[in-house]
Symmetry: C2
Subunit: 296 residues, 2 copies
């Protein structure tokens, strides 16, 4: 597995901030708060916060401004996992090798914890002490998060995913599904981080968005690949679970070798998008490398 | 049933705006969009929008500014109903005399439609064209909605409600539960509308908040009363469903006469809070009257 610069540092930073935020919430219902903590802090790679910090650092943003964005995106991601794992959705018992939230608690609590974590994402944007520069762009940050997470983004993608289960879909439909389901939040990670710097131009933002889109797709292609090539121990969940659930996957549509080629093509294009930028984007390139080389 | 001034006018206005907003969403997954429309436009009294418009009109706010707030609050309310009705939560088959969203569609779609409606609430706040005066308070509006709807508000109250099922709780615990579960959004309706006027003082905001808190509690007491005194046809759901679900209610704790007295005490206090305000609050007083006199 390739090494990601600063990974542990950024993971520790965002975990600390998320934990501190939960500590500030008045205790109304301890079980709900415990379930929110479980869903938010059970583990995970923290890819979205990593992308926020790495993009922001490349562009010269302040870490303190990026904190609010990293936490907001991780809350959206965490809530989506809680709801996706529910019996009525993907019906998963394990997540990251541990019982899913509705198994550790109960379904009602997992639904409410997910709902509360979505609100907590907007709480971070509404209450984070952004610097003067970024504070004026708070509304823009809200617009980007709304676009990426709701019907026009992640939730829409999850609905397409459910509709596509047990049906053959085309490669274009699969790409659209993943562009919404996972791509939208990764793209927002980069776009929201870019709002934290003054000097960036519109065309530079476009290149960054292209990079994020391509890496987002590569991420999903690689996810489908490792679902069939990794061990259950590495995955923390049953191997081949997507295929077992009759979901369309890139290896199913393109063959395993075709899917590997696809991931590599997307990777090369993402590096080309980065190359147009007048910043030191080495760590973003290493992020792209990590995405297509990871084995679990 | 007492008459509510402008009720149909405000209902029509908010329904129109919600419907138009849904029409602007790009079609990704038709079933999800249909379920969002079903959840948002199936009917309902539109009490939160009514309170937004009535408060704002009393204080001299513009209807156009109030629109964004009314729509945002109704989206939060609608999402909470979709999730509360789920089998894992209250397991209701009927809502307003029609099949609940998970019955009309399916559970996964109802979960996702609820999630998307929560995001849509923040979409309204992020993208509504507020006038210059209110635009500068957009962050404050976000803060108020976050506080009212998430763990510290509505979701926290729903969790307390679930925890209290099949258990005896005290009258103070019941009041806290309802202050969060339904009171927080009613209070936010008034507080967010008050952000749309410049001239209001801090002490006047406090009086308005007291009014909203008292009316919110009265609303729930009356809800518990009509759950046992109204016909199923009037309720649009089985009579006595709260008692059947072993939920604590005001009539159970205070007796039916005691609960009626409680509703009337809260009503009188709410009128006293209004009386301190230098605005024509007659329509807000009529709202309070409606709340404690309604029979379904």
């Amino acid at each position: 597995m390739p090494n990601l610069p600063q990974l542990e540092n950024y993971q520790h930073r965002v975990n600390q901030l998320l934990s501190e935020k939960l500590d500030t919430l008045m205790v109304n219902d301890e079980k709900l708060l415990d379930a929110m903590r479980y869903g938010l802090l059970i583990g995970g790679k923290r890819m979205r916060p990593y992308l926020v910090y790495t993009t922001g650092q490349a562009l010269g943003a302040s870490m303190e401004d990026l904190d609010g964005i990293a936490c907001a995106l991780e809350c959206i991601h965490a809530y989506s996992l809680l709801h996706d794992d529910l019996p009525a959705m993907d019906d998963d018992d394990l997540r990251r090798g541990k019982p899913t939230c509705h198994k550790a608690f109960d379904e009602a609590t997992a639904i409410l914890a997910g709902d509360s974590l979505q609100t907590l994402a907007f709480d971070f944007l509404a209450n984070h002490p952004f610097s003067v520069l970024v504070d004026g762009k708070r509304t823009k940050l809200f617009q980007l998060l709304v676009q990426a997470s709701g019907y026009s983004g992640m939730c829409g993608g999850q609905a397409l995913d459910l509709s596509a289960t047990n049906q053959a879909i085309s490669i274009n439909e699969l790409e659209n599904l993943h562009a919404l389901k996972t791509g939208a939040l990764l793209k927002a990670s980069v776009a929201m981080a870019a709002e934290c710097v003054e000097s960036i131009t519109a065309s530079q933002k476009t290149s960054l968005n292209q990079f994020a889109e391509l890496v987002g797709l590569a991420y999903q292609v690689q996810d489908d690949i490792i679902d069939i090539t990794s061990s259950e121990e590495e995955l923390g969940k049953p191997k081949g679970s997507d295929i077992a659930a009759n979901k369309s996957t890139y290896p199913a549509l393109l063959g395993l070798e075709g899917a590997k080629q696809k991931a590599d093509d997307l990777y090369q294009e993402s590096l080309q998008a980065l190359a147009t930028l007048p910043y030191n984007t080495q760590n973003l390139a290493e992020f792209a490398t990590f995405i297509v080389r990871r084995t679990h």
